[in-house]
């Protein structure tokens, strides 16, 4: 601990704390621009200058370490003049036209800083050089005329996202932000996560959808979660007049610690913006779908279900809430005793773990393990394009020396990362893992007494033959892995779909040897819950005479459309019009993700609640309610003991 005084206040902070953070902890405000609480201090803007007793010049507090006995003053005339000068220099560096900037009026940190210093005008005029606007990315644009070169975006892209797209070219006044080696953003390696937009203090980075829809002061911000995939990232949704203005990552969420991907920020709004909502229940009459009342539609559906029970199939999206999936299971599995009932992924992401959990109990860890991993092995999952935030959590640690070993049949997704990509023949994940185990034994970095490891040379050779990977590469990877202090193994669908869990058993063996954390990605937002409810069986829709399909706000995939093309009677619950709705016999309008609340179990077992953030329009009901109504029509009542049901089957993760 070190002791210092700031504006006469005695403060104690741990060693290594900056003066700025010490002041903030003590409730003393120091204006900043290039500083961001979640990024490494940079010290570029000089707005945070403070007076340090004994120092010849003012010091930037954001990079100045607090030291014993330091005496700091944050407000005096010299400091105030310096701040005004700093701001004038920043304004004169580019061309700021506040009246038509989307963040002017409260959401611009630069403008706010100028107001705070009482600036009614600039001491120096803009430079009038023209800077191009980069509008090549579909979701955000970069307006260099408003850029203050604070590099918050650059640090965000590196330190939080691990994408390393942004950088600054040239020096001094000629400095310019570039993507990659100077290509338009839309043609760069940018993955459109929008974290740079979220962290930009000015109007330079513009969220194209959110711009001019309203400033923070006109809107309300609600914390909830993204249900775009099984990561379950915390998000902050800004709403105004029952419309979503913007979505940002929630830094308070322990799951994603603020970082989100393009699905969570932008794509989850696409259906809302351009989809056509199903407004009323509909029934097919004389070949035409016509509007009906809920009563009529429920009566129609329950009659159809009653008469086709023997050959009925029911499928629900695994992106629906726990409450909906539970009601669905209670009605179709427990109530109507239908055989062919499942959720959309049919166990693809959960089969193997569920099998192994029967004998092993919980064996998977938390996503947060990735933050401290010194070695990460990914097996059978493209984390660059799926579950992107998990990919970010891995890639951002690479500069700190974390070793990444990607075992993949393609490997191209990881192509530009400076790490071992082990490209294997399809279906040989298990052999490769066996090779890694034997490799560690052969190299003497780990020992194993099992039969398989008696002749490690042979096992490594067999693995090389089967996987098509050079044995030296297997040994290199085994060496890194065997010497890792806090390794994490992340695996996906090629491993998890197998009910016999044979590959997973081998991975578990590897994990035990090196004390690794195991993490599996789980596909959709509620794949874990679907599996715990037993909604993970393969279902052949082709042979069904009638089908109940609960889509929620998801679109039907081609596979599903194909599978149900010959089904006589289709009962569909959908928020939007789509190809399945068009061929349905009864359609129930349900709410979209923003209009209904519910719980979700993410990939590491964290139970989270999604809040309702918009009022529903039309006659749509929450999906769970719609199923409750159908159950009532069929004479069943459904309890709400979903938590007990979730925990009654062994799971690979702690559900809490």
């Amino acid at each position: 601990m070190v002791h210092l005084t700031i504006d006469g206040k005695h403060i104690e902070v741990p060693e290594g704390t900056t003066v700025l953070r010490a002041a903030q902890q003590a409730g003393i405000h120091i204006p900043t621009l290039c500083d961001h609480p979640h990024l490494t201090p940079y010290g570029g803007c000089r707005l945070c200058l403070v007076d340090v007793k004994g120092a010849r010049t003012l010091q930037p507090s954001c990079t100045l370490p607090a030291t014993e006995g330091l005496e700091v003053t944050t407000v005096n005339e010299q400091i105030s003049d310096a701040r005004k000068f700093v701001l004038s220099m920043i304004f004169s560096e580019r061309n700021h036209f506040c009246p038509y900037c989307q963040v002017s009026g409260g959401d611009c940190e630069l403008q706010n800083a100028a107001y705070e210093q009482g600036m009614t005008h600039w001491m120096i005029q803009p430079n009038w050089n023209t800077y191009k606007v980069d509008a090549s990315n579909p979701y955000f644009s970069y307006e260099a005329n408003r850029c203050i070169l604070c590099r918050r975006c650059v640090r965000t892209c590196q330190e939080l996202v691990g994408n390393f797209t942004l950088g600054v070219e040239q020096r001094g006044a000629a400095s310019i932000l570039v993507a990659d080696l100077g290509v338009p953003l839309g043609e760069s390696t940018c993955v459109s996560c929008g974290m740079c937009v979220q962290n930009c203090p000015t109007g330079a980075m513009m969220d194209r959808r959110a711009a001019y829809r309203g400033l923070s002061a006109d809107a309300e911000t609600i914390k909830t979660i993204c249900t775009g995939c099984s990561v379950g990232c915390g998000i902050e949704v800004t709403i105004r007049d029952n419309n979503i203005i913007a979505i940002n990552g929630d830094y308070d969420s322990p799951v994603n610690q603020g970082v989100i991907c393009k699905i969570g920020r932008w794509q989850s709004l696409e259906a809302m913006d351009s989809g056509v909502a199903v407004k009323t229940p509909m029934i097919r009459k004389n070949g035409e779908l016509v509007s009906a009342s809920w009563e009529e539609a429920l009566a129609f559906a329950s009659k159809a279900i009653d008469t086709t029970r023997q050959s009925l199939a029911a499928l629900a999206s695994s992106s629906l809430s726990v409450e909906t999936l539970y009601a669905f299971k209670k009605l179709f599995v427990d109530g109507l005793a239908i055989q062919s009932v499942s959720a959309s992924e049919m166990g693809k992401y959960t089969n193997a773990q569920k099998s192994l959990a029967v004998t092993n109990g919980v064996f998977e860890g938390h996503l947060s393990a990735l933050n401290n991993a010194d070695c990460v092995v990914t097996i059978g999952e493209d984390l660059i394009h799926q579950h992107e935030v998990v990919g970010f959590m891995i890639k951002r640690n690479l500069p700190k020396g974390t070793a990444l070993i990607c075992v993949d049949t393609d490997g191209s997704a990881y192509g530009n990362l400076p790490n071992s990509v082990i490209k294997i023949n399809p279906g040989t994940e298990q052999q490769l893992v066996k090779g890694l185990i034997a490799g560690m034994v052969k190299l003497g970095v780990k020992s194993c007494a099992c039969d398989g490891c008696k002749n490690p040379d042979q096992v490594v050779q067999d693995a090389a033959n089967a996987t098509g990977v050079e044995s030296t590469l297997i040994l290199d990877a085994a060496y890194i892995l065997g010497n890792a202090q806090s390794p994490v193994i992340v695996y996906g669908s090629t491993v998890t779909s197998d009910v016999d869990a044979s590959t997973l058993t081998t991975i578990k063996c590897l994990s035990d040897m090196i004390s690794a954390e195991m993490i599996s990605v789980k596909g959709n937002a509620n794949s874990v819950a679907s599996a715990q409810f037993g909604l993970d069986q393969p279902v052949d829709m082709h042979t069904a005479k009638a089908a109940v399909i609960v889509l929620g706000d998801k679109q039907p995939c081609d596979e599903l459309l194909n599978a149900v093309s010959k089904v006589n009677t289709k009962i569909v619950f959908s928020a939007y019009q789509n190809a399945l709705v068009e061929t349905a016999d009864v359609v129930f309008p349900v709410n979209n993700w923003a209009e209904e609340e519910g719980h979700f179990i993410n990939m590491d077992g964290t139970v989270q609640k999604r809040s309702q953030i918009l009022a529903a329009n039309g006659q749509g009901k929450a999906s769970a309610q719609a199923i409750h109504d159908l159950a009532a029509q069929l004479g069943f009542s459904i309890d709400d003991h979903w938590m007990e049901a979730l925990q009654s089957t062994p799971a690979s993760v702690t559900i809490a």
Binding site: F97, C98, S104, Y115, T120, H121, Q125, W128
Partner: protein, 180 residues
């Protein structure tokens, strides 16, 4: 005490700042009680008194030789010069044309815009003002009070005028300091 004399004029602006001044509504009567309102572009008297006024208010930046002359005359004839609005303070919307070549801009505006017919020409007459790159007032004349805003709110203008009328230099803070 004699009432301070106030005159105003507009240059390269949109007259929005003067509209915002009128938007003070009944508070305008308070101001009239406190000051002797002389020449303004929206009253009959067009030029500030030759023997000077206490406060001169200018809306808009400088975009041609006529603006320049008006600005200089106001500066010469007033004790305290107020730059009213973003165009006067920063250059504002008209200043965006500084990003383009001046001759090309003039040619485009007179011949290429939607409302121009085929025979459109760039007018040439020695009587006409000569265009120049747009400047904020402070680049050309000394400004004593900056009132940013596009336009400044009636509250801000009221505050500025009532402070000046009572012999104080206004200090814009809080909600009154807003560049928009």
């Amino acid at each position: 005490m004699t009432k301070p004399k106030v005159a105003s004029d507009w240059l390269a602006g949109c007259s929005g700042c003067h509209m915002s001044l009128l938007d003070m509504d009944e508070r305008l009567l308070d101001i009239i009680d406190l000051v002797d309102l002389r020449a303004t572009p929206i009253t009959d008297l067009k030029h500030p008194d030759k023997d000077g006024v206490d406060v001169g208010i200018l809306e808009g930046g400088i975009n041609n030789s006529a603006n320049l002359a008006v600005a200089k005359m106001m500066r010469e004839r007033c004790k305290i010069l107020v730059a009213l609005g973003d165009c006067a303070v920063f250059g504002g919307v008209p200043a965006m044309r500084n990003f383009f070549d001046l001759d090309e801009t003039v040619r485009y505006v007179y011949t290429q815009t939607m409302s121009m017919d085929k025979e459109a020409i760039v007018p040439k007459d020695p009587e006409l003002a000569v265009p120049q790159r747009v400047q904020a007032l402070s680049e050309v004349i000394k400004v004593d009070v900056f009132v940013p805003g596009c336009p400044p709110s009636p509250d801000a203008i009221y505050h500025v005028l009532s402070e000046l009328a009572q012999g104080r230099l206004p200090n814009l803070t809080g909600n009154l300091l807003d560049w928009h």
